[in-house]
């Protein structure tokens, strides 16, 4: 049953400062709404609990892609379409482009934002595995200033994040340090377009000969939040890539994964597929 729109308040303050002042005055009262591809679904199905919303969709201060020598900074209000159209992101972070391309349909990519995908904090969200593998940093902003933290510290639990009630996600910074890295991402769902992942894995690795000199693995739907698979990384780091390494990687990933049974899949299937995806990546490193 659809909600009665008249029961909800929505304002669109003209500037980011005005939005921050308003949420600082009454912390926790307002929910920010950007492209609406998540919150409007909740409204349409009668599940939208928040009654007071502030639109940040029109704020160009949050919609930017800044390319610097050492990193690319992406404003939280940047749409998936903006990301897909950016040549510097395509050149440096193909996994981010790939995950943006399978985030909903073209119409949803035109509205949905990278910040929304992160702050909605679904464990199955499409872009977090790539951002985790790339070692992204998030910058949060409030009326009193900005603070930055590793993205891997942002998700605290199921739909829980490090955002304080007076804060917004400002930007996501991805270090440009993956020249020569092998990169891999794969999403397993019911169909290519629109489907929510059963499980997804993003991996980057740097090889020195046949030794894994660096490896980072990000995953969706393997836990109650998007996670970096630190144990599997540690089990593989510095190892020669061979059958024993693949077995160790699989076993460690299985031991650190905490997937669940739900309408889209089962915990057993998710763990098995995640191991297969990791093996697929590791075998690609042998070539």
């Amino acid at each position: 049953m659809r909600s009665d729109a008249a029961l909800f308040e929505l304002e669109a303050p003209a500037t980011l400062d005005a939005v921050l002042a308003q949420i600082a005055a009454e912390p926790g009262k307002f929910t920010a709404i950007a492209g609406g591809t998540e919150l409007m679904v909740a409204l349409g199905t009668g599940r939208l609990a928040q009654r007071s919303l502030l639109s940040i969709q029109h704020l160009n201060e949050l919609r930017f892609i800044g390319v610097e020598d050492d990193a690319i900074h992406i404003g939280a209000g940047t749409t998936f379409t903006d990301i897909r159209r950016n040549a510097a992101i395509a050149e440096n972070f193909p996994l981010l482009i790939q995950s943006a391309s399978w985030t909903g349909s073209v119409a949803n990519q035109n509205r949905g934002t990278l910040g929304g995908n992160i702050c909605n904090a679904s464990p199955a969200a499409d872009t977090p595995p790539a951002l985790l593998a790339y070692g992204a940093t998030v910058t949060l902003i409030s009326a009193i200033g900005k603070r930055s933290l590793p993205y891997s510290d942002f998700h605290l639990g199921y739909k829980r994040t490090a955002l304080r009630p007076d804060e917004l996600l400002h930007s996501i910074s991805v270090p440009r340090e993956f020249d020569g890295y092998r990169q891999y991402i794969r999403k397993v769902g019911t169909r290519n377009a629109q489907a929510i992942s059963k499980v997804a894995l993003a991996c980057v690795a740097r090889m020195e000969g046949d030794v894994i000199a660096d490896i980072r693995i990000g995953a969706a739907s393997l836990a109650d939040r998007p996670v970096r698979c630190g144990a599997a990384e540690a089990a593989l780091l510095g190892r020669r890539i061979d059958e024993a390494a693949i077995r160790a990687g699989r076993a460690t990933l299985a031991s650190e994964a905490k997937p669940i049974d739900d309408i889209r899949s089962t915990a057993m299937y998710r763990a098995a597929v995640a191991e297969n995806l990791l093996e697929e990546f590791l075998r690609s490193l042998m070539i």
């Binding site: 659809r2 729109a5 008249a6 909800f8 308040e9 929505l10 304002e11 669109a12 709404i33 492209g35 609406g36 591809t37 409007m40 679904v41 409204l43 349409g44 199905t45 919303l53 639109s55 969709q57 029109h58 379409t81 391309s101 909903g104 349909s105 073209v106 119409a107 949803n108 035109n110 509205r111 290519n192 377009a193 629109q194």
Partner: protein, 155 residues
């Protein structure tokens, strides 16, 4: 209530609506532009797709206030002076519509696709229309209609 002004199909409109009212409902209920359809109401089916400042959006997911100042194009604005747009003609000629519920969204998604890719590959057509579900045609006739529209200089 909020005052929302936008241009829809070339006409300036100014209306008083709840700011969180879905653009879909504003179009259908306040402006009586019922060509835009509601399918799933969750942004999955594309039946409610319209162009907002030239970008394809699902109008069921746009709060009215976020359309303030926008330029909108609905299916009613695609034809001119009672003459079908070439994309519409191609859908008609190729049998790209059966029950018709998905058709307004398909036409606008095609419009958006051909703006971006005047000569789309089959892969680009499939991706461009992946957010528009059709339960009748099996899609092949829709793809043929899009290809014909592209080949015939539909824009």
């Amino acid at each position: 209530m909020a005052n929302v002004k936008f241009n829809v199909n070339g006409c300036e409109k100014s209306i008083e609506v709840p700011p969180m009212k879905r653009l879909l409902d504003v179009l259908r209920e306040d402006l009586h532009l019922t060509g835009t359809k509601e399918g799933c109401g969750e942004g999955e089916c594309g039946a409610c797709a319209v162009l907002l400042d030239g970008e394809l959006v699902n109008s069921c997911l746009v709060p009215a206030l976020q359309a303030n100042g926008a330029r909108l194009c609905t299916i009613e604005g695609v034809s001119t002076e009672g003459r079908l747009h070439p994309i519409q003609r191609c859908f008609l000629e190729k049998g790209g519509a059966q029950c018709g519920i998905c058709t307004p969204g398909m036409i606008l998604a095609t419009h958006h696709l051909l703006d971006k890719y005047p000569e789309p590959t089959m892969e680009q057509i499939q991706e461009g229309l992946a957010g528009n579900l059709c339960r009748c045609t099996g899609y092949m006739r829709i793809f043929e209609a899009v290809q014909k529209a592209a080949a015939g200089g539909a824009r």
